[in-house]
Amino acid sequence: MIRFSKVSKWYGDYQALTDVTAEVKAGEVVVICGPSGSGKSTLIRTVNRLEEIKSGAIYVNGQDIHAPGLKINDFRSGIGFVFQSFNLFPHLSVTENVCLAPVRVSGRSKGEARDHAMALLERVGLAHKANAYPAQLSGGQQQRVAIARALAMNPPVMLFDEPTSALDPEMVGEVLSVMKSLARDGMTMVCVTHEMGFAREVSDRIWFMDRGVILEENSPNEFFTAPQHARSKAFLSDLRSH
């Protein structure tokens, strides 16, 4: 469903991604983990072209996403993206946040979009906050609204960029549980996260990244019990020592 082929990216002189080649299959949940600055977020952001790449190619559903003539906005609306810092629109109510793309990008009627938004808010447990504004919600609630907003265009794939890293510890669970329910429903998901419990329980594959390279691709069971690469071993033992 998503295929990276020799993807490289530089920030000035710094090489953020080096020849990344990997594939996410339909229905798969992939967790990308690794130390800070390893290129996890950069990699996930190249998929909807929030970051442009220097060389290589990325295919989504077989479509080269850098092909000339690609309608970038239609393409992006087919990929759900959840940010670390939620990025809800503070001037719009919860429902309006969720309805914005369906109404302004797909041209759906407001009534239709609103019905769909209510169903999505129900799914993330926030139907009762439909008329609230983002500033009136807790961090966990905001992130759940952000997930509903990303689902509003019925994307076949969802990308999560450290969705729980900006949350107070007691709010991490509610966001993870929404993500788990999405995974159970068969959504294709790529998650950059430090939540190893989530990775172990939900993911089909784990990609371990360091310095812009995917060092290890493994099943969660193998990765946590018998990591292959020396760096992943060090990373996991650092995690356990806390």
Partner: protein, 245 residues
């Protein structure tokens, strides 16, 4: 001083009107409102150029803004006075000259207000909007401008206060606004410049003071609305995700 006001209040308020052209404070306010309203859309355009990744637009708009900000308004009034008739091919009224000048001048200043309003928003707002599939224009229309314009209302009122004072420069090309009216009164009385110009100053001050107070009040309201409210005690009721934990 009260005597001067009693004899001349109508002249200060509306100039020669209805016997002659409208002038005085009324004309000052009309000039100011027109200056603000007409320059505002242009200033949004300039601000978008100033924040544009397209180099030519950025450089062009930046040069324009720096030139205008580095030259006194009265120079523009003189240029407008001689240049506009050449450009349009016939003579124009002093009123038109002043309006054209104010539009150019204020568009440059307002564009900096608009630009600051745009750039003050977190970068994540644009990213979130683009990631949803909204293009450049839709992102500006539905996400950026509604937030930026709302936040910049107090600055807009401050700029309006500046415009009101700047219209007094119309005096040098005989636009019959408030300063012109006061000068007429002074010419009639000959011996009492101090009270006449004190009345002029008080009039400007009163109008501008009221507006500045409005700006401050709005600023407080906006700050209050935009700051996150105290985190609500987490209510589990109706929240299926929290209840399920």
């Amino acid at each position: 001083m009260l005597g001067i006001i009693q004899d001349n209040w109508l002249l200060l308020l509306v100039g020669q009107y209805p016997k002659g052209p409208l002038g005085g404070l009324a004309l000052t306010l009309i000039l100011s409102v027109m200056g603000l309203v007409l320059s505002f859309p242009i200033s949004i355009g300039i601000a978008l150029c100033r924040t544009s990744p397209i180099r030519m637009l950025y450089v062009g708009s930046t040069v324009l803004v720096y030139i205008v900000r580095g030259i006194p308004l009265v120079m523009f009034v003189f240029w407008g006075y001689f240049l506009v008739p050449i450009l349009v091919g016939h003579s124009v009224t002093a009123f038109t000259t002043l309006i054209c000048t104010l539009i150019v001048y204020e568009a440059a200043y307002l564009s900096e207000v608009v630009r600051a309003g745009i750039q003050a928003l977190p970068k994540g707002q644009v990213e979130a909007s683009r990631a949803l599939g909204l293009g450049y224009w839709k992102t500006n229309l539905w996400v950026i401008m509604p937030q930026a314009l709302y936040n910049m209302v107090p600055s807009l009122i401050s700029q309006f206060v500046s415009i009101i004072k700047e219209t007094s420069i119309g005096y040098v090309i005989s636009v019959q606004e408030l300063t012109f009216a006061a000068n007429q009164i002074n010419s009639n009385l000959l011996t009492r410049p101090f009270p006449v110009f004190l009345i002029l100053a008080i009039t400007y001050f009163a109008v501008c003071f009221v507006l500045t107070q409005c700006a401050q009040h709005l600023e407080r309201t906006i700050t209050r609305k935009r700051s996150p409210k105290m985190a609500h005690p987490r209510s589990m009721s109706n929240d299926s995700v929290l209840e399920g934990q």
